[in-house]
């Protein structure tokens, strides 16, 4: 199934290296020990390269290139920490933070500090910067949607769509800053095609779409990720054998996820695997 693999040589920040053909710049950076921020990229999704926080400078390219999607090419000269790169990453982080609440986008926090992003500088006297300001959508007992946290990374759309679930309950609607992840005509989720697999939630990097259980615990001030344990086991329902990561806090299950790097489920689950643990502890 694997053919003879050729390698390409490239230089990243002055270091020569070889990677297998087809390897993305992002992966090449990773193997060179260079940490690159990403938001819209995930192991189990097709790169959409929309967040632009992973951009790098490639010699000969007029604009910066998204490292998550661009394969390394022979002779490529890449800079991951040039002034141009730092500037664009900083601006992308500022843009994101100026419009939505990144409180729960924990992986971004260190990058905001590192690139010295000044999120507050977009407010003007008598003219505060426009933000997304919508009431949290709570339409059932399993999910909540908080668009004030949505960075439009498309991950949920991909997971709901042809990268995994093929249900297509949600898509991007509208344009520009008014674009939203939406069902048709914004109908409530239970009226939509949604089958509550939770795969959108598992890929959301900012908490914009969340398990209701987590939302309730957070609201009660009882969500303590640093005290949670994760146990790998296998789903108790059908015979497919999806691996589960059971998150427990104080000896209680608080959510179920699935490891993205396992061949059976690739990080995805169905409604039974995602929520079917509740019989183990009927009330959370």
């Amino acid at each position: 199934m694997t053919s003879a693999q050729t390698t390409v040589s490239l230089s990243i920040d002055g270091n020569e290296m070889q990677v297998l053909e087809g390897t993305t710049i992002h992966k090449a950076c990773e193997s060179a020990g260079i940490n690159t921020p990403t938001l819209c990229w995930a192991e189990n999704l097709t790169p959409v390269n929309v967040c632009r926080v992973c951009v790098v400078e490639v010699e000969g390219s007029r604009t910066l290139v998204p490292s998550c999607a661009r394969p390394a090419e022979e002779g490529m000269v890449v800079y991951t920490d040039s002034e141009r790169v730092r500037h664009s990453r900083r601006m992308v982080l500022e843009f994101l933070g100026s419009g939505v609440d990144l409180d729960q986008a924990t992986p971004l926090h260190e990058w905001i500090v590192r690139y010295d992003a000044d999120i507050a500088r977009y407010d003007q006297p008598d003219l505060p910067a426009a933000i997304i300001d919508e009431p949290t959508k709570i339409q059932d007992d399993l999910y909540i949607r908080d668009y004030n946290r949505c960075v439009l990374c498309y991950k949920c759309v991909e997971a709901c769509g042809d990268d995994a679930q093929h249900t297509f309950a949600i898509a991007v609607a509208g344009r520009g800053f008014d674009a939203r992840i939406s069902t048709e005509y914004d109908v409530e989720l239970p009226q939509s095609a949604c089958v509550y697999c939770g795969n959108c939630i598992s890929v959301c990097p900012t908490g914009a779409i969340q398990f209701k259980t987590e939302f309730d615990l957070r609201r009660a001030g009882e969500w303590r990720p640093d005290q949670q344990e994760i146990t790998r086991t296998v789903c108790s329902y059908c015979g497919v054998g999806c691996n589960l990561e059971i998150h427990t806090q104080d000896g209680r299950i608080v959510k179920a996820t699935s490891p993205a790097d396992h061949s059976v489920a690739s990080g995805h689950l169905c409604v039974k695997g995602r929520f079917g643990w509740r019989y183990v502890q009927p009330s959370i």
């Binding site: 390269n49 929309v50 967040c51 632009r52 926080v53 951009v55 604009t63 910066l64 998204p66 999607a69 661009r70 141009r84 500037h87 664009s88 601006m91 992308v92 843009f95 994101l96 100026s98 419009g99 500088r121 977009y122 003007q124 006297p125 008598d126 003219l127 910067a129 426009a130 960075v151 439009l152 498309y154 769509g161 093929h166 249900t167 297509f168 309950a169 949600i170 898509a171 991007v172 609607a173 509208g174 344009r175 520009g176 800053f177 008014d178 674009a179 939406s182 069902t183 048709e184 005509y185 109908v187 009226q191 939509s192 095609a193």
Partner: protein, 582 residues
């Protein structure tokens, strides 16, 4: 090919009939008997491109796309309703909220040329007279602003100005190449087209053979006229070398750059030239399929192209054996629905394919992964028009005009404060001052303050640039661009602040929203200019912010819209057109 879920809303018979009239009666899911039903991914993929025409039909039928109508189309084409809704909400011409009336809607252009020609006043007058008015981005009628476009409900769309006499200021000029037939030829007659030199190039191309046509185009030095100026010969050769099938030639007639209307004039007045030049492109590159993507606000252009294609088919100039060459080529027209971004080539592909008009990352490039992921040559109609002369006259003769690096002639769209706004064909190298003179010089009370070159995505040059030779190389070294050929003049009596605020608003509205630098950057740029408008000046830290944003948009956006969204604003600030002295 999926277990779609629909809300209980149903289409009514008007909508069902309108959709059938637009896309036919075939459905993706075919119930052969109660026990045998066909469907599947392949059938679904093959019909997805009918989504945009179907949405047009729904919009036309009811004045908005109703949930029931959307469900019907989604069911017929097996497109998930959420995706169909995402597509419908992408376009300016589609409404997904009940407007509460079924009147035609008058779109009034609010972009620069029309703005300074009084579009606000027109819009107020129409509203007062009881019309439903929609503030629209540039309608491509900058020579006759303030422009209107009437979107019909149950009736055809129309442009009121189309009823007026067409004026072409260069008519009869023997030096014209690209525009020689404008105003002369009958746009509805193949015979008239032939009588005016039509189809000489195709005959010549067939005689020369595809390889020789490719050589001639490469030797001519022709470059893309949509704004990016990529060498056409390189693009065509790369696509011709692709083995994949089918291959496509696409005419990018989604002319939406504010200030640009040249393609409309050509399509409306010399439609056969587009058909012929596309056929030559198809022959040269080995493509079977031609697509014309014409912006939705150009109903006359679409109608005349449709007629031309029909006549060409009848005459055997399109179809399975083009002009006896043995080559197959035919053309399908797609109407856009109001989205500037769809002029970006990969966004245009997505739009034809029935998806949101969101640009794709390049590489891969269209020559290998274009329309439907297949090899595609996509060209601006002006570029295609040049090919007719290159083939008919030969590359050497073609190069006898223009400069070494910018051979040939260029179509310019003169608008703003000039006496005779309109389309002009000039030799590359003509100076900006000469061009303004051709258009009858300035009009109004003031002196020349600035000229917007290349449209909203271009940049302003000051009154000291009248000597600038209009070539690719000279504009580039002057830090500006010819872009799509916009030359929009502003005199000192024009208040530039609202013009710049509107340009910023244009990008904010037209950003597809896909990538962060453009989605948020265009918003913040607009907010900053609104504040400049309020205070009349710009502080040092705001100025820094504008520059910071401009760099990030230019560097990190996915496509040309974001790359150029700050260009006009930056140049205006540099020239001191807004925000106080430079």
């Amino acid at each position: 090919m999926t277990d779609l879920h629909f809300t209980s809303d149903r289409a009514d018979s008007t909508e069902i009939e309108a959709v059938a009239a637009a896309i036919g009666n075939e459905t993706v899911v075919v119930v052969e008997t109660e026990r045998l039903i066909r469907g599947g991914k392949e059938r679904r993929n093959q019909s997805r491109h009918l989504l945009l025409p179907a949405l047009h039909a729904l919009q036309r039928a009811k004045g908005w796309i109703t949930p029931g109508g959307l469900n019907h189309v989604a069911d017929v084409l097996q497109v998930p309703p959420a995706e169909a809704y995402g597509v419908a909400t992408f376009y300016e011409m589609f409404r997904t909220v009940d407007p509460g009336h079924s009147e035609s809607v008058t779109h009034v252009c609010v972009d620069a040329a029309c703005q300074i020609a009084g579009s606000d006043m027109l819009s107020d007058e129409l509203t007062a007279a009881g019309s439903a008015v929609h503030r629209s981005p540039c309608l491509g009628q900058c020579e006759r602003g303030p422009a209107r476009f009437v979107q019909g409900v149950g009736t055809a769309d129309e442009v009121p100005a189309d009823a007026e006499l067409f004026v072409f200021h260069q008519q009869g000029d023997p030096s014209l190449r690209l525009l020689k037939r404008i105003g002369v030829v009958d746009p509805g007659s193949l015979d008239s087209y032939r009588a005016n030199g039509g189809y000489v190039a195709l005959d010549r191309a067939i005689e020369m053979g595809a390889a020789a046509v490719l050589d001639a185009v490469a030797d001519s030095g022709l470059s893309g006229r949509g704004g990016a100026a990529f060498p056409t010969g390189v693009k065509w050769r790369a696509m011709a070398a692709e083995e994949g099938r089918p291959k496509h030639v696409v005419a990018n007639c989604d002319e939406s750059e504010p200030g640009t209307f040249k393609d409309r004039v050509v399509m409306e007045n010399d439609p056969f030239s587009i058909v012929e030049s596309m056929t030559v492109a198809g022959f040269a590159t080995g493509a079977e399929n031609g697509w014309i993507y014409v912006r939705g606000e150009y109903p006359l252009a679409a109608a005349r192209l449709e007629v031309a294609i029909g006549q060409a088919r009848v005459a055997g100039l399109l179809g399975p054996d083009v002009a006896g060459s043995g080559h197959t080529f035919d053309i399908e027209i797609r109407r856009g629905a109001g989205a500037y971004i769809c002029g970006e080539e990969t966004a245009l592909f997505a739009s034809i394919e029935g998806f949101r008009g969101e640009p794709r990352s390049k590489p891969p490039f269209p020559t290998t992964h274009g329309l439907f992921g297949q090899p595609t040559a996509i060209n601006n109609p002006e570029t295609l028009l040049n090919v007719l002369d290159i083939v008919a006259l030969g590359a050497d003769e073609y190069r006898s005009r223009g400069t070494e690096q910018s051979p040939g002639t260029k179509l310019l769209c003169l608008s703003g404060r000039v006496a005779n706004p309109g389309i002009y064909e000039v030799e590359f190298g003509t100076s900006l001052g000469q061009v303004l003179e051709m258009a009858g010089g300035l009009t109004g009370s003031g002196e020349l303050r600035a000229v917007l070159l290349g449209g909203a995505a271009g940049s302003f040059v000051g009154a000291d640039s009248l000597g600038l030779p209009l070539t690719l190389e000279d504009t580039r070294s002057a830090g500006t661009t010819l872009g799509s050929g916009v030359v929009m003049a502003f005199t000192t009596d024009v208040d530039m602040t609202p013009v710049l605020i509107r340009i910023a608003e244009f990008f904010r509205n037209e950003s597809c929203g896909q990538c962060v630098p453009c989605r948020v950057g265009t918003l913040r740029q607009h907010e900053t200019l609104v504040q400049v408008g309020r205070t009349g000046s710009i502080t040092a830290d705001r100025r820094q912010l504008v520059d910071d944003m401009a760099r990030a948009m230019a560097d990190a956006s996915i496509c040309g819209l974001g790359h150029t969204a700050a260009s006009a604003v930056s140049s205006a600030l540099a020239l001191g057109l807004i925000g106080g002295a430079k």
